[in-house]
């Protein structure tokens, strides 16, 4: 793989940029791999990359039914933060946030990590108390967050309306090293680096069946023919239930639509991420100047990748209340993704009832921020059979009643 650098750009300029090689190889699938990852979103690609990089397992394929990042990874609003309440959550989200800090250098691909700060507004007494609890938990976990006053909120975000009318801002939970990154670039960067280590990136290849014998998984049926393997990792977010059914088990997961929208581009008005969970809306500004806006998820099972109009209305109403200055902006685009929700709003990482099959899913509305840590921990679990970071997120926690409850901490958890 030729390295990307300022010198490479200069060199290629001389030949009118006609000579750049493809970022990743797209080989025909082999008949057998040591490990197969289903799903070419961020989590699947990161898992494949760390399998190759950290554990030397390089005879690996990533099978993606459409294009890389075409699922939730390329549809999300890219909030990165690690200010969760429970210790297992803090461990995996902070591992991920830390890896994001140097990911561009590590992958030699600009993923545009921007630690611009994430401010979560407390707009009820209860929310303020909950955030104080989170701040204390974060301090014990070694994660830098702080409770800030309404005045400080206003300093950080001058366009913020702290006075109400419905829900005056009583304070905020501020994580200065939270922020955003470029979503597609995270998928592309991992794909390119994984491909360079020998991983086969295979797009347009849908898994349609899972083969097994008495000892466990033996391979997959795909739209590009059968492929054998003894190690399979399912990383398909909203389609987890469909793949689980192919393998013969059920999951504590439901798929629902979550949507986002962007405004017309305007001059810079907000240089951090603001989340207003009580009124159900959050906002940041992209480098192009569009306001990136999201809200809550639908309440019923859905595979349509569309949102519903009343949620657009609800979200926009919440944000106009929070940022009156945006009231006359026009919205440019709106889209939806199918998110995989668990009851405790924490992900599932671990072995499944079928020997040789692991699953990584349940990231729901908030898994973009976790991609590097999740891939790191999932690869370690597949390679070593166990991992301290991934361990607590196993499927068995539902039977044992050992929930990792993040649902109380954040109503709109992205």
């Amino acid at each position: 793989m030729a390295r990307y650098s300022v010198f490479a750009i200069a060199r290629h300029a001389a030949s009118w940029h006609q000579g750049w090689e493809k970022a990743w190889r797209s080989p025909e699938p082999k008949s057998e791999y040591d490990a197969i990852v289903i799903g070419g979103g961020g989590h699947g690609l990161a898992t494949a990359y760390y399998l190759a990089k950290n554990h030397g397992i390089r005879n690996v394929a990533v099978l993606e039914k459409s294009w890389l990042g075409g699922g939730n990874t390329g549809r999300n609003t890219t909030i990165i933060r690690s200010n969760y309440l429970r210790d297992p959550s803090a461990a995996i989200y902070e591992l991920a946030r830390g890896l994001y800090e140097t990911l561009s250098q590590e992958l030699n691909f600009n993923i545009m990590f921007s630690p611009r700060g994430v401010l979560m507004l407390a707009q009820t007494e209860h929310e303020l108390r909950a955030y104080k609890r989170t701040e204390s938990a974060n301090r014990a976990q070694g994660i830098a967050t702080e409770i800030v006053s309404p005045e400080r909120c206003r300093e950080i975000v001058p366009i913020l309306n702290v006075a109400g009318p419905r829900y005056p801002v009583l304070g905020g939970l501020w994580q200065a090293r939270g922020g955003t990154a470029r979503h597609d670039a995270v998928a592309w960067g991992y794909a390119r680096a994984a491909s360079d280590l020998g991983v086969d990136i295979i797009q347009g290849c849908e898994v349609t069946g899972i083969d097994r014998d008495a000892n466990g998984v033996t391979g997959v049926q795909t739209t590009r023919g059968p492929i054998r393997t003894r190690k399979l990792c399912i990383v398909v977010a909203g389609h987890s239930g469909v793949l689980a059914e192919m393998a013969g088990f059920r999951l504590p997961v439901e798929s629902v639509a979550l949507q986002a929208l962007v405004s017309e581009p305007i001059k810079p008005v907000i240089d951090c991420v603001v989340m207003a969970n009580t009124v159900h809306g959050y906002m940041s500004q992209s480098d192009k100047g569009e306001l990136v806006i999201g809200g809550g998820a639908d309440g019923f099972n859905n595979y349509t990748q569309r949102g519903s109009f009343q949620h657009v209305e609800e979200t926009v109403r919440a944000l106009v209340e929070t940022f009156p200055i945006i009231s006359r902006l026009r919205m440019l685009r709106q889209w939806g993704g199918i998110v995989d929700m668990t009851g405790d709003r924490s992900p599932i990482i671990g072995p499944t009832p079928v020997p040789g099959i692991w699953i990584n899913c349940g990231w729901g509305t908030g898994g973009f921020k976790a991609i590097p840590g999740s891939g790191w921990a999932t690869a370690a679990m597949i390679a070593n059979g166990e991992d301290p970071v991934a361990g607590p997120f196993g499927l068995e926690r539902f039977r044992e009643g050992r929930m990792i409850d993040e649902s109380v901490a954040a109503a709109v958890a992205h």
């Binding site: 239930g241 469909v242 059920r250 504590p252 309440g299 019923f300 099972n301 595979y303 349509t304 009343q310």
Partner: protein, 110 residues
Amino acid sequence: MLLLTCPHCGVSAEETEFHPGGEAHLKRIGPDGDDDAFMGYLFERRNPKGVHFERWRHAFGCGKWFHLARCTVTLEVFGAYRADVHAPPAEIVERIQARRPGWTPEGEDA
């Protein structure tokens, strides 16, 4: 936006007048059930891509619960039926089969 008709009061209204209540026809595990069965009842869901049976409540209307047969891929509503049954009635199954030839309730509910 779904347009639903309440089988109790007959009112047709937009989705916002109703409240979704999750997968229908879950069978509660009795005192002699084991941990696995209880975990399945509490947490495991079919989450199908296609025909789905679910509970809804006419929250801002008559307030009553009912069942709905709906496709999660097209959002087509096949019909609503009363809340106190353990399986979709024959006329709902027929209506689904008219729209989804080859679909069978048994095959779906493995």
